[in-house]
């Protein structure tokens, strides 16, 4: 019994980080109706940024977070201008292909440089012990940082003028343009934000689990499942969806080998898309 409760708590901690990653995906979808297939790559880039910053540069592990957020934002803005801007207003097929090809280039470079072996960033943090179970400190801190970043995103979107502009563009781009909002700049800013969130999530995941260059596909699928649960284009739903996915994973790990996780997630993803196309936790958007 305690074992199940412990795995639920741990599932919530890990799941909130999945939610953070999915927020990046869903923000971009909500603002510009673009499915960003560089999402998985951005997550992996966050992981390797942590690996390089702690290993080669010597930054203490969690101090890498601001660098990754800023770097991710700048890369995201650049990506918008390279691969997305020309595709706005073209058939959705085209932006899927263009972001997918960027993803290939980055993964190809990554495998050429690092190969496909396992990497690990050792982070020393005391855990919290409850009965016979110890919750790793990295999981707790990752969830806390996720909450902080999500809170900051909320403040930005709902308490600043620029955030209001982002929401206006998400609501109706033409009307926003008519009100004098520089929509193109808002789009590139949102893309940058989305990539920064994915990178930060990748960094937090790297403090918890080992990773490979090819890990992006699996985490990208997790983000899709989360957005399907939470409703595409809905950052708050993404966080709830992430926690839900973490719970499902925690439960599933009790009954079957971890290698089945992807199969279960995929089945869940398709089932949710078919049964609840708007997301289970889709809140009324205002």
């Amino acid at each position: 019994m305690f074992g199940i409760i412990a795995s639920i708590v741990d599932g919530v901690l890990i799941g909130s980080v999945y939610g953070l990653a999915a927020m990046g995906l869903t923000l971009i979808w909500g603002v510009m109706n673009v499915v960003n297939l560089t999402h998985g790559t951005a997550i992996v880039a966050g992981m390797f940024a942590l690996y390089l910053l702690t290993g080669a540069v010597g930054v203490p592990s969690y101090a890498a977070l601001p660098f990754i957020l800023i770097g991710g934002f700048l890369i995201g803005v650049a990506l918008y201008w390279i691969a997305v801007h020309r595709m706005i207003g073209r058939p959705p097929l085209m932006v899927l292909l263009s972001t997918f090809s960027v993803n290939l280039v980055v993964i190809g470079l990554g495998t050429a440089v690092w190969g496909t072996g396992l990497f690990n960033v050792p982070v020393m943090l005391p855990g919290v012990t409850w009965h016979r179970y110890t919750f790793p400190g990295t999981h707790i801190l990752a969830a806390a940082l996720t909450a902080a970043i999500a809170g900051a995103l909320y403040l930005f979107l709902y308490r600043t003028r620029l955030g209001k502009a982002v929401r206006a563009v998400a609501n109706n781009r033409e009307a926003a343009e008519l009100c004098g909002i520089p929509t193109t700049r808002v789009l590139s800013l949102s893309f940058g934000l989305g990539v920064a969130l994915a990178g930060a999530a990748g960094m937090l995941i790297a403090t918890m689990f080992p990773f490979t260059v090819l890990a992006g596909d699996a985490y990208q699928l997790k983000s899709f499942v989360v957005t399907a649960l939470g409703g595409l284009g809905n950052p708050a739903g993404a966080l709830v969806g992430g926690v839900a996915l973490g719970l499902v994973e925690g439960f599933a790990a009790q009954f079957m080998p971890v290698s089945w996780t992807l199969v279960i997630e995929f089945v869940l993803f398709v089932a949710v898309l078919i049964i609840f196309p708007r997301g289970i936790f889709a809140f009324a958007r205002t």
Partner: protein, 336 residues
Amino acid sequence: MNNGRTDSVVGDRPPPLLGRPFFWIVALVIGAFAIAPLVGANVELRERLLLAAVYITLASNLNLMLGYAGYINFGSIVFFGLGGYICVYLIGAREWPLAAAAPAAGLAVSLMALIFGLGILRLRGAFFALATIGINEGVQAFAANFEPWGGSAGLYLPMQVFAPLGGPMRALWVIYFFLIAVMGFSLYLSYAVKTSKFGLGLIAIGQNEDAAAVLGVPTALYKALAYSLSAFLPALAGGLYFFKSAFIQPTDAFDLGLSTEVMVIVMLGGRGTVTGAAIGAYLYEELRGSLLTSQTFANFQLVVSGLLLLLIVLFAPGGLMGWLYSRWPRTREALE
């Protein structure tokens, strides 16, 4: 109002197949594929053409979805890999002959695609694309965990399975000719679909799905049928291909690289064109061959295909055939 003109809604009926230059071009290509390696029993050339035939098969079937219906299918390699698995399993564990196992694999995968498609293709655009990415991950993880299929170690076939085809050496030639036939069927299937009412419906979906639905195209059914149809020949080719290797494992069967390459091929040749898929496949195979021989580029294959795809999407979304059509509009009448 004007009843005399209702026929023109369907468009001008194309001339019979035998009267089209396209038919003879394809026939010539198939003939060249079949005869060229026989001259001097050139095994190296045969292996290269075999790969080209697999590319052409996969590309022209992907084209049914990507080119005609405008639906991206990131999981097209699943058909190839699943077909391979089912065929190798039926031959190895159930001792079926190849002639029964390969079509059975094709039918089974096609049926699965139909059932899956009826569910998933209610989803529109981006949602469908996400589902097809998921299916690749999901099916690969399934194959890696499914015990009867050997898990991540995969399945092996003993050498005796080649005996009915006249021993391993002769079997390679027999499989080659089968694959050429599958390639030919793929090209004619693309053509037949394009000139049919069904194909017209798909192209209408690709241009504007809402308008197509309003005009009476049963969009969900047509998409599911196209999805299922585009599964049959790749699964058959997968069965033959992995029978030839006598070995199949999840990372080979559901190779992300191959599924990407096929997409690059369709875009390179020009999506929605039958000839484009074939030319794109051949050109890409040549390019890949020259890259693989150079040491520096062997590591950067994904990078090269990614860059190529990005450049095509950004600057030449029509591909080679799009360029050809705009340069010499008359070629539109001879080619498909």
